[in-house]
């Protein structure tokens, strides 16, 4: 396995060794396509946060499998606009059992939340992984007081949920590139006809994954390690 730093993956330096299949910006799977919602700087911060949640091992990290692209498209779309979110005020503080009560639509919440991260540990670029891990733990436990209108736990809940969705959702949404997430667990995808195999006990199912927009010949898993 080649070794390379997280920075080299994120910023495309030194990507020649064993990483030929990766786009130049690993987090910008739609290489050369500008982000729809995120600024470049936000995308870089987000890649660091997502990769803290889903780091690279034998399988790609979140950003390497397109999760930042996924989140960008979600923020630009119905999720970001709060199309299924009741937004009428007032917005008093609730209990955890009462769920999302932010006055912000998700797109605003992410933008303010990403900016607020910097108030805790400064620019995320160049932070050691241990600092990012600590930041994530703090966010998940609602610890750091973030400047502005975004609660730490609220931001963590959305970040965690969408990172996970991007890694495992159908690739038509921009993440799960090369079916990385589905290969990792062994999920065969959107075509399911198991009448004759459901009770064939303990027989591994070996068909490669196929998604909704599957192109024949593209299901091979090209992750190089």
């Amino acid at each position: 396995m080649p070794t390379y730093s997280r920075r080299s993956v994120l910023f495309g330096f030194g990507a020649a060794v064993g990483l030929a299949s990766l786009p130049r910006h690993a987090f910008a799977a739609l290489d050369g396509t500008p982000f729809t919602f995120l600024t470049d700087s936000e995308a870089r911060s987000l890649a660091l946060l997502c990769d803290t949640l889903i780091p690279q091992d034998d399988f790609p990290s979140a950003s390497q499998s397109g999760v930042v692209d996924f989140i960008d498209l979600q923020l630009a779309g119905g999720y970001g606009r709060g199309e299924h979110l009741y937004m009428d005020g007032p917005h008093p503080q609730g209990t955890p059992e009462q769920g999302y009560q932010s006055p912000l639509r998700p797109a605003e919440l992410w933008r303010e939340g990403l900016a607020a991260m910097q108030t805790v540990i400064g620019p995320l670029d160049g932070q050691p992984q241990s600092a990012l891990d600590r930041l994530m733990t703090d966010l998940s436990e609602d610890r750091p007081a973030l400047v502005g209108r975004v609660g730490a736990k609220t931001f963590f809940t959305e970040l965690h949920a969408l990172t996970n969705q991007g890694y495992f959702a159908d690739p038509i949404y921009g993440g799960n590139k090369g079916y990385a997430g589905w290969h990792m667990v062994g999920f065969p995808g959107a075509f399911g006809y198991f009448t004759d195999t459901v009770d064939a006990h303990n027989r591994p199912y070996r068909q490669p994954p196929m998604g909704i927009g599957h192109q024949p010949g593209t299901s091979d898993f090209n992750w190089e390690r």
Partner: protein
């Protein structure tokens, strides 16, 4: 002023299971039916076909088949000392919208109640003494018995092409079925589903411990089948996209293919889409309803007069419609009087995660909504409650419904929620896990109820429904006890590396509106024989307005340890039977108050 339309015989609010069934039965009884559906037309053949339907993000995460909370939602609090806040996005339960309603995205777990469930207060008092039921539980009889409902349970099982193994037939018990069920007039119309390894191992362990495993009754067809209305069902493909999805294979029974297709061309049937019912209108003397006012998609208010009004919205929205229409007497928790919104109950869910060694390959993506093996030994009053300190129970099931990877990420206890260790645990356990579900009953209490919120409004300017709910102590104890039994079975399963149990109703944790639990909201419009404790009489007819008939799980006086669709459809057919054969010829209150 609302534009007034020509009068119809029956106006039906909602095109889900009960609404379309009411239309089918009443249209064939010669009554002209107008169904008002707030959502859109959709059909299994066009709209639920794979692979496009098999989109976990769109349907399971973003709830594309369900209500949009921007238009209609409710506010929620755990107790009356809190301020209820809007349920801004869906979570704990998923009411539907559109043709077929929530009936298109159910799992198809199709149950009958136990005979004793329907006479709960009488049964417990007879068996354990008059003082057994504590004062803080509003336990009631349904006012209708198992024997009265049995033909209707049977008919609905046939409508759905239900797969299963009978346990109790008229001439005695059957091997391999549920020995605790009430006597059946007929076997299931289709043979049971094929069981994967996880449920099989659960059944073996349960049997060794002396329990009575059987295949879960499933509205997922196992053979080609034609139902009594003429609808054709096809065998299930075990694709793993049942709950939260429509079925494009015509294998999961739903109201569109099983009912709508067979009534849509009838001369007495009409359905209007994007028809948002705003309120039920009452006559001047208040004794009857005159029809309903609804909003068209063009934004016009229209009044549809009718001789009979059928309320077939999702249970919560029937309560809301009554409250905003002034139908019935709203429940007041301070005086404990009034009935509309009283006895709201839910479902008490617990479970055990089972992690196998590598010898067992579960292939969790080979699933179906009602695929699994169950024991009923700890449901209802199938076990001795004398010294347990609670009422009720639940079934324990090992189901294999899906392996959709955004939501299906089982990891052993102690695994962090993210990072390298989490990632490895997800990868290592995905193909080697089974889950045991404890599907527990929910008792009604004076403090859990539905009313109108004083602050927030829906998109039509009406106050939101307000839900006040927390798990009663009774149900916390029940879930803990039955979960212990489930855990015992899990520990006795073969090839098990580790197990972990969890109880949504654990001591010290409050009910949360956030994580999905079940779409089994019950009560609020309960049925009974006493107008001071029920909204409708034993025929589903409103005590206060005899031409208003109410359907759905809102009629349950307390919630069962079973999924509600079978029980509520049995009651629906019972109500329709009395409408067709008695009320229509002689409209009047069918019971004296």
């Amino acid at each position: 002023m609302a534009r007034r339309l020509a009068k119809t015989d029956v106006v039906i609010i909602g095109a889900g299971w009960t609404g379309l069934t009411a239309a089918y039965e009443l249209a064939h009884a010669g009554k002209r039916c107008v169904v008002l559906e707030r959502g859109s037309y959709r059909h299994d053949a066009d709209d639920f076909a794979a692979p496009k339907e098999h989109d976990e993000l769109k349907y399971a995460v973003h709830h594309a088949h369900m209500i949009n909370t921007r238009k209609e939602t409710l506010t929620f609090r755990n107790n009356a000392s809190q301020q209820a806040l809007p349920m801004r996005r869906l979570g704990s339960f998923l009411p539907g919208v559109g043709l077929g309603g929530a009936g298109i995205h159910w799992n198809g777990q199709l149950w009958r109640p136990l005979p004793s469930d329907l006479e709960m207060r009488s049964h417990y008092e007879n068996r354990y003494g008059a003082d057994f039921i504590p004062d803080d539980l509003n336990v009631q009889d349904w006012g209708v018995t198992y024997d009265e409902l049995e033909p209707h349970f049977d008919f609905y099982e046939k409508i759905c092409g239900t797969s299963g193994t009978a346990g109790q037939m008229a001439d005695g018990p059957r091997e391999g079925g549920n020995p605790f069920e009430g006597p059946r007039s007929a076997d299931y119309p289709n043979p049971p589903m094929r069981q994967p390894i996880g449920p099989t191992k659960f059944g073996e362990a349960a049997q060794k411990l002396g329990y009575h495993p059987f295949p879960m009754p499933a509205a997922n067809a196992t053979k080609e089948y034609t139902n009594p209305y003429g609808a054709k069902l096809h065998p299930c493909t075990y694709c793993g996209f049942c709950e939260r999805f429509g079925c494009g294979y015509y294998a999961k029974a739903d109201p569109i293919i099983c009912v709508y297709d067979q009534i849509k061309s009838h001369e007495n049937f009409e359905i209007r889409y994007q028809a948002q019912v705003l309120r039920v209108e009452k006559s001047e003397d208040g004794k009857t309803a005159t029809g309903v006012t609804y909003l068209t998609d063009a934004g016009e208010e229209v009044f549809q007069p009718a001789d009979m009004v059928c309320m077939n919205a999702y249970g919560l929205w029937n309560v809301h419609l009554m409250l905003v229409s002034g139908l019935g007497k709203p429940y007041d928790p301070k005086t404990r009087t009034g009935t509309v919104g009283r006895n709201y109950a839910y479902q008490t869910m617990a479970g055990v995660n089972v992690f196998f060694d590598d010898q067992v390959v579960t292939n969790p993506f080979m699933g179906a909504g009602a695929l699994g093996t169950v024991i009923d030994d700890f449901n209802g009053d199938n076990f001795d409650h004398s010294d347990l300190g609670f009422l009720g129970g639940g079934y324990i099931a090992c189901t294999q419904t899906n392996g959709r990877p955004i939501n299906y990420q089982p990891t052993p206890e102690g695994t962090p929620a993210w990072g390298a260790d989490w990632k490895r645990a997800v990868r290592e356990n995905y193909l080697h896990h089974a889950s045991l579900t404890v599907h527990g009953s929910s008792m009604a209490t004076p403090d859990n109820y539905l009313d109108l919120d004083p602050t927030w409004k829906d998109a039509y300017g009406r106050p939101l429904l307000r839900m006040t709910f927390n798990f009663p102590e009774n149900d916390r104890r029940m879930a803990d006890y039955v979960m212990g039994k489930a855990h015992e079975i899990a520990r006795n399963m073969e090839n098990v590396k580790s197990t972990s149990a969890s109880n949504r109703a654990a001591e010290g944790s409050d009910y949360s509106i956030v994580p999905y639990q079940t779409t089994h909201n019950t009560g609020g419009t309960v049925m009974g024989t006493d107008p001071t404790t029920s909204v409708v009489n034993r025929f589903g007819q409103m005590w206060d307005h005899h031409n208003v008939f109410v359907f759905g799980a809102g009629l349950f006086p307390q919630n069962l340890g079973y999924n509600p669709t079978g029980p509520l459809m049995g009651v629906a057919y019972w109500t329709l039977d009395h409408m067709k054969n008695d009320y229509i010829a002689n409209p009047r209150p069918l019971m004296d108050a």
